[in-house]
Assembly symmetry: C2
Homo-oligomer: 252 residues x 2
């Protein structure tokens, strides 16, 4: 059991604090978490569909995709996760994985035991509430992705996804929305948008030629934010960023 520096846990605490009010004691409890630091190579699944897990994974660096799979092997990414996210926090209350997690670029994760997460959640109601709210925030993203994939054309789908990641990277303190790092291949972008790699390529070319966004060598540069928002029909309400929200019960 490694004792990671705060540098791994601080982004996680920041993400929670974006939506939930935490007391200093609760913050300390989270910063006191420990786990195994594990490097994961590109395109390696570190949680597979059907696994029973006894820990949750905190993204320390890199990029993670949550995915579902068909029996023919085709995949659909259902959410992207950046450093500070805990993509399977929900496994604390649902330990059998109905999903998979894969590294989309060389990634480092911190595996935190469910027993530790349970302990601090049971000791601090505010942490249980923050975890609950965090799972709701992820669920809200899934829900928006259903809309994106179900009722938008290829250009809008990509525009929407890029808007979402721009805001999330900005909020996580990783550059601003005009330019951020998104180390993902066009093929994985296709799995995230329900398209094919070829069509993602053509669609990105179109966005590039219209001088709206450039996605090259892992860096996304948005030249015309307003138009990208308009093309993607993007409304950030689903991201639950108008918090932090009031606590259910008074702080201890």
């Amino acid at each position: 059991m490694d004792h990671p520096q705060g540098s791994a846990l601080q982004p996680f605490l920041s993400r929670l604090a974006l939506r939930s009010l935490l007391t200093p004691a609760e913050g300390n409890a989270i910063m006191g978490l420990s786990g195994h630091v594990t490097p994961v190579a590109t395109h390696v699944d570190f949680v597979s569909v059907g696994d029973h897990v006894d820990h949750s994974c905190l993204v320390v660096s890199g990029l993670v995709g949550r995915f579902g799979q068909n029996s023919d092997g085709s995949r659909q990414i259902t959410c992207l996760h950046i450093p500070g996210d805990m993509p399977d926090l929900h496994s604390v209350v649902s330990p059998k994985a109905g999903w998979g997690l894969t590294a989309l670029t060389p990634t480092t994760i911190l595996r935190v035991a469910h027993s530790d997460l349970r302990y601090i959640a049971s000791q601090h109601f505010g942490i249980a509430e923050a975890f609950w709210r965090d799972c709701v925030a992820d669920g809200s993203i899934f829900s928006e992705w259903v809309v994106n994939v179900g009722r938008r054309g290829a250009t809008a789908r990509l525009a929407h996804l890029l808007c979402e990641m721009a805001i999330r990277c900005e909020r996580a303190g990783q550059g601003d929305r005009r330019s951020f790092v998104l180390p993902i291949t066009q093929s994985d972008l296709a799995d995230a948008t329900g398209l094919t790699g070829v069509h993602v390529n053509r669609t990105l070319r179109e966005l590039r030629s219209r001088s709206i966004v450039t996605a090259r060598s892992k860096v996304v540069t948005i030249h015309d934010w307003d138009q990208l928002v308009s093309i993607g029909d993007f409304d950030d309400a689903f991201m639950m960023l108008d918090g932090p929200y009031p606590r259910i019960a008074a702080a201890a």
Copy 2:
């Protein structure tokens, strides 16, 4: 403030108990909830995107769709909710709606104040945990719907949706998976699967002609369950029905 009979709350308690262990005291706290009973006519939105809500809606009878919307008015349903479901339980921790709720058939809902839900959650950790887990279960359905809409053809999409609703109706005690009531139009089915009404019609005709499933006058009859599961690539793992799961903290 009406005091509804147990008949409205019992299915909600049963749904929670499918996945979470609740003490008798916790069960009583849930059965003691009260709220406003409201009838909703077909295709009336009773929560609109962007609303600030101070209550959650329990489906007493009928069928509810959670949906997202594009600025051109096109809609995508992201989850169906049957009696006993609380489609916006998550609004307890996230009161600004990034989604909408609409009645797909004449429906009755029970509006329960957030303050009441917060109170029982703060008094009983097991209830907070059950609410958290219930939100995770809904999120898991959203996530599967992303896969369904993003990476399956029209026939598989409909097959998968029908399998899901068959299992859910069965678990909710509303008939068995071979035959259940699903009062939804083909047009709304299209909004749930990311297709058009016309194509849903053609696809249902195909499933009917292959003697796999009949969907007529609000009743779905599945003649060949195994083949429907196969066509829809359906695996019920995402539904989190292998519980109830252990409690985070010992029962009080």
